[in-house]
Symmetry: C2
Subunit: 455 residues, 2 copies
């Protein structure tokens, strides 16, 4: 192990250069014009897995962007770790807010800046570099591994469940390892034992076949913007922040007292959130801490809305069409089917007869709770403590990693969330970053985790 740690130290610079290559590929899965780039990132990873001497490295097709698979299986008496990551990234817009180009990675003040560096290219890469170090110094791995890198995480992993169903035997493992989350600081690791689910809906509303002149018709015909505003306004009570979809909270799991204490230690406070987001005030439902609201309570947001003329200057129209993207974060024991039904029937009940409204689901994922007593969870805890000098604190994640729920259902396995980002990395925002220090600590933690399987 001393040798492999030394190997990492000696190859630090090259590791970073390799990561920059991957970051330079604009693999924006949501945009059709970047489909070829997305495939290029998959191919880069496949080829890199081969280079670090993994086996059966291949691109596997789905109905959307492909999956990258590889494995290294030598000893059936040892457990198998399935390493999941995603090579696709969010759209970088608004481009004008980036200080450096999103797909020209650069290092500034101890951070790597690039779209996808924290979410998720930089994080998944830590495991490849840890395994390379072990292979180069020991000639083999202390555990069996499989790789599953997808290219559709940022668009809701639409085809992943199908892929897993069709490849259950290929993917069978004892645990899944995912690095797509964050520590609290460069010295304080954090482990998430639960994840929120998500339902992401698109609402498309129209009141007329086309926009009309607001002078000629103002006062007599329905305005699509106003009709959309009326519906959106009834989704949440902004005074209490409570979601107004009837029976939305009905199946929400209550938090246990021991969990409340754990969450108090998570160091997510009003102050950290205000600092990270720049908001002036915490706005949430009374009676819960920010950590509880983030991980243990469901919520609803309007992620986007658009209607009418939004260019320069005035345009005197009454808009005929308006759209909104509305997503809900779910917690155990809410289900996607239950909340989709409640949301859809509520929204439909709000629509007057002179308005056309189409509702469609853009993506969804079930919420999940994992076992802290699991042996793999404990090994990860130890690797974190050895690397960071502090035991991890526990959190319930506010985000959603839909694959964790799928793996639980289809393969019966838990996922270990080993996050190497930091809370202010700016995921999905301009100037996304990953601390260089955290990148190297990630590689070391991964190495210690894998080495812990050596007899």
């Amino acid at each position: 192990m001393e040798n492999s740690l030394k190997y990492i130290e000696e190859n630090k610079k090259r590791y970073l250069e390799e990561l920059f290559e991957l970051l330079s590929i604009p693999s924006i899965s949501a945009l059709a014009e970047h489909a070829a780039d997305t495939r290029k990132a998959a191919e880069w990873l496949r080829s890199h897995l081969e280079r670090i001497r993994m086996e059966n490295c291949k691109i596997m097709e789905t109905k959307g962007h492909p999956v990258v698979y590889a494995d290294y299986i030598k000893d059936s008496t040892k457990p198998t770790v399935l390493i999941y990551g995603h090579y696709d990234v969010q759209s970088p817009d608004p481009l004008e807010d980036w200080e450096s180009e999103p797909f020209e990675p650069t290092t500034r003040d101890g951070n790597i800046y690039a779209r996808g560096v924290a979410d998720d290219k930089g994080q998944l890469f830590t495991h490849l570099k840890a395994l390379e170090a072990i292979m180069q110094t020991s000639g083999n791995l202390p555990v069996n591994v499989k790789f599953l890198f997808e290219g559709e995480e940022e668009v809701g992993s639409e085809n992943l469940d199908e892929f897993i169903k069709e490849n259950i035997e290929l993917l069978r493992a004892d645990v899944c390892l995912i690095s797509d989350s964050h520590a609290l600081s460069e010295t304080q690791p954090m482990m998430e034992y639960g994840l929120r689910g998500i339902i992401y809906m698109q609402l498309d509303l129209s009141t007329m076949p086309k926009d009309v002149h607001s002078g000629t018709y103002g006062g007599n015909v329905p305005n699509a913007n106003f009709e959309l505003v009326k519906i959106l306004n009834k989704l949440k009570n902004l005074d209490t922040q409570e979601v107004l979809v009837p029976r939305f909270y009905e199946s929400v799991r209550s938090i246990e007292e021991t969990e409340k204490l754990d969450l108090q230690n998570s160091k997510i406070t009003d102050e950290t959130i205000l600092e990270e987001t720049g908001a002036k005030e915490i706005i949430g439902v009374d009676g819960f801490s920010v950590a509880e609201r983030e991980g243990a309570r469901p919520t609803l947001d309007i992620n986007g809305m658009h209607g009418g003329y939004t260019g320069e200057g005035p345009k005197t129209i009454i808009p005929a069409k308006a759209s909104a993207k509305v997503s809900m974060r779910l917690v155990p024991n809410q289900t996607v089917a239950e909340i989709t039904e409640k949301f859809t029937s509520y929204v439909k009940s709000l629509v007057p007869s002179y308005v056309n409204l189409e509702i469609k689901s853009l993506s969804s994922g079930e919420p999940l709770l994992m076992g802290k007593e699991n042996e793999f969870f404990k090994k990860a805890e130890t690797a974190f403590e050895q690397t960071f000098g502090n035991k991890p604190v526990y959190e319930l994640a506010g985000g959603s990693i839909p694959i964790t729920a799928t793996l639980k259902t289809l393969l019966g396995i838990d996922s270990i969330l080993m996050g190497f980002g930091l809370p202010d990395d700016g995921l999905h925002s301009p100037n996304e970053k990953l601390s260089v220090e955290m990148f190297y600590k990630g590689i070391k933690t991964s190495l210690l985790f894998f080495e812990s399987f050596r007899k």
Copy 2:
């Protein structure tokens, strides 16, 4: 006069070809990238005025797009008619909804299709062609004329008031003639004796410096879209359609009984509006007819709104910024200053301390009521009746032509609104059109109006 009517008949085809030249210039005043095109349209008109032997033809600069001026003044005992029009056009978006290119004029089913053909290039051109016919057949004009063609009507005529103030003597006239409105049908002319005013505001709201991840922060920080929705929802009661700005209706002039009867004859009915707009229901304040609501009642619309991610697929952000364009149509005796103050202070009162909101005015114009007893009004009535075979009906216009209020204030003159469009021309919408028949009837009406000044 027989000769000039014959001249029009003989030159019909060329008249249309010349109009097509003007329509081909994409003089979209709202878009900076079309500034050169906008000037090109001004230059085209200046040169055309020269060609039809008007005098002092010139481009006059403003802080924005220029004014085209010309005149023909030969007899100080005769009245002077100031002919106003605008050579700028609305943006043609959404482009995909056009059946033919917006700046490649074409004739289909008896209509000319092109952006700006009805609003206002085709209409202002009728007067040039009438005057050309008179000049070519009589060698002089029976009345003095001045031309004022502006390039900023579609962006609120921002610099026109200033221009008029600085050129009061140059522009002094006895009446203003404006063709920027419509008849009811190809056989039923209509004359507007009042115009609504307008206030067009931009609201820019922010809750954080940048978008944040909706998983990590959902439930704890303010969503700019929701905050904007809350404000917009309080601008109008969608059940009664009443504007909720306090004391908004306080100074609205009551409609006289004779006017109610005139407006009943205007033939604007629920059915015509439903047919023209394609809306499923008339949505307006109870107790008023559609004609009254269009011209004699103020209203408020959200012309555009935007916030967060509105591209393809899902993006899991909580938006930091959201914007809306909100305009109000004013009627006598509301004033721009009064309603701006009431709107602004109301909106500010709705904004919580954790939200930043900027409100700015994009354009405005006072409402106006004109005298039906005026001699010019009567001459126009007669010209209409002679051309169309029917007396015009009276209407109060729902739209706004801010210059009419400025001319009343600064020059003390009324404006005659001689509209040659039709109600379904699709101003500001895709597939804007002008009936070929109405274009020629416009030229004839204009000719009869000018000839009525001959002793």
